[in-house]
Amino acid sequence: MLQCSGVTVRFGGLVPLDGVDLHVPDRGLFLVVGPNGAGKTTLLNVISRLVTPSAGSVRFAGRDLLALEPSALLYAGIARSFQKAELFVGLSALDNVLVGLDHRRVPERAARMRALGMLEALGLGGVAHVTAGTLPHGYQKLVDLARALVSEPKLLLLDEPLAGVTAAEIPTLLRAIRDAARDRAVLMIEHHLELVLELAERVTVLDFGRTIAEGPPETIRRDPAVIRSYLGGKAVEHAW
């Protein structure tokens, strides 16, 4: 469904992405991993139209994504979460999630019910009316996820959803991600491989802006190039 071919991004002398290909089918969890600076977030930003690549193409459900405005993506069926949550800090958690429904013009009352249901499913029912900016960071990440999920996208982009989330919230979060991946494509960047690798259907490993490995988790785990570059030569089991 999502097809990136030869995506290259240049900022001055830097090349954060250098000819990356990526194919994401209709359903399932797809993981993009790699060391810091490998180009993961840049890739996500290209797909969500925050960064325009200097070369390559990005197609989604037969459409050229690069021809769309960032604000057209949700209408095309693509929603995303952010590494630093990027909530609307002055709005309540509930209103943040409501924004995720606003593009469909759901009647206010029905929208409130659905947004509240989404928050409750993520264990956030108790903070629905709290101003988002005052929530602890882990809660903010969950609200960010809820805001993206409630729009029922065909493709969900998650930028390190586990970063900054406390241990107590992780099972809920993982369950939500797994459920979401059941009937849609989820493209996720994550460092906590020990927690998410088993959930993933396929994994793409980036390093210095290039794809160095691609395949199902079992293969990736044993790939010598991955071990060398991403894991710094340490024993795989130990590091993961």
């Binding site: 977030t41 952010f82 590494q83 630093k84 990027e86």
Partner: protein, 291 residues
């Protein structure tokens, strides 16, 4: 056609005042990221101080100007130390609120102390005009330009040759590196405010003889200063100077050939147009935000 050089010349003279105003604004903006909306009110305070020294204390004119500029410098330093320092890390809106509050406070105080009757200052240079063919050289206009050149030269020396100047340049580029280099940023910032306000004060004193002095006189001058700064990209001193001079000439051309009373509106329209085409000013650079 023969009056065109004359118009350009007077425009440059007027533009040198805008350039001074813009320089003060940009200097302060570069150092601390704050646009001082009170710059005009501070110029008014300087001009009234000169008037007071001249007419109240009967100090000789040049000395009155020097003392008033010293007071402007002190006002700038005090403003930074007592007020702006507290909102250095606040959101832009809060900083704008503070400088607007100062604008109102100072304008109000000047009105209370000096009243609202128009005052005037004599010309600093009172030599007869010189005819050069069809061109008439007005000494006071030449003086405006000369002041700009001297002050810019002094500023360049300061920036290039002194430790304070090094600190000012460091502030505008990389605060972290400046701190590593052992430069006391707080002191540099205060002094920069002093210099910036003194520049506005100089523009104010030079502007008064050709108009009249009321608490609201400098509103226009400062808006032209802002426009000049924006034309110059709001970040470079050379941009401010070029922007100011250019604006003076453009303004004078509009006044002569189009409609004298609508000059500010036309200038404002040009500003909008420039910003619409180049949101970061004519010579500015784009800023990219990271997610």
């Amino acid at each position: 056609m023969s009056i065109l050089p004359q118009i350009v010349l007077s425009g440059l003279a007027q533009g040198s005042l805008y350039a001074l105003a813009a320089l003060g604004i940009v200097l302060i903006f570069n150092a601390g990221g704050i646009v001082n909306f009170a710059q005009g009110a501070m110029a008014v305070v300087t001009a009234y101080a000169t008037w007071g020294l001249l007419n109240g204390a009967h100090v000789p004119y040049p000395l009155a100007v020097a003392l008033a500029l010293g007071a402007a410098f002190a006002l700038g330093v005090a403003t930074e130390m007592l007020v702006l320092r507290r909102v250095a890390d606040a959101p832009p809106l809060t900083q704008i609120v503070v400088t607007l509050g100062l604008l109102m406070l100072l304008t109000g105080l000047v009105g209370i102390v000096f009243g609202h009757d128009p005052r005037s200052l004599p010309e600093l240079v009172t030599l007869p005009s010189i005819s050069l063919g069809s061109l008439i050289l007005v000494p006071s206009e030449g003086f405006d330009l000369a002041v700009l050149i001297v002050l810019v030269a002094a500023l360049m020396l300061l920036l290039r040759r002194t430790k304070l100047g090094l600190g000012m340049r460091a502030l505008s580029q990389d605060r972290f590196a400046a701190r590593l280099a052992g430069i006391s940023l707080t002191r540099v910032l205060s002094l920069t405010w002093g210099i910036g306000v003194a520049l506005a004060g100089a523009a104010g004193i030079l502007a008064v003889p050709s108009t009249t002095l009321t608490p609201a006189t400098m509103d226009t001058l400062v808006i032209y200063g802002f426009v000049a700064a924006v034309f110059g990209g709001f970040g470079t001193l050379s941009g401010a100077i070029v922007g100011g001079l250019l604006l003076g000439v453009v303004d004078n051309l509009i006044k002569t050939y189009l409609a004298p009373e609508l000059s500010l509106s036309v200038v404002f329209a040009l500003l909008l147009l420039a910003l619409y085409v180049r949101p970061n000013g004519l010579f500015g650079r784009a800023v990219v935000r990271k997610v």
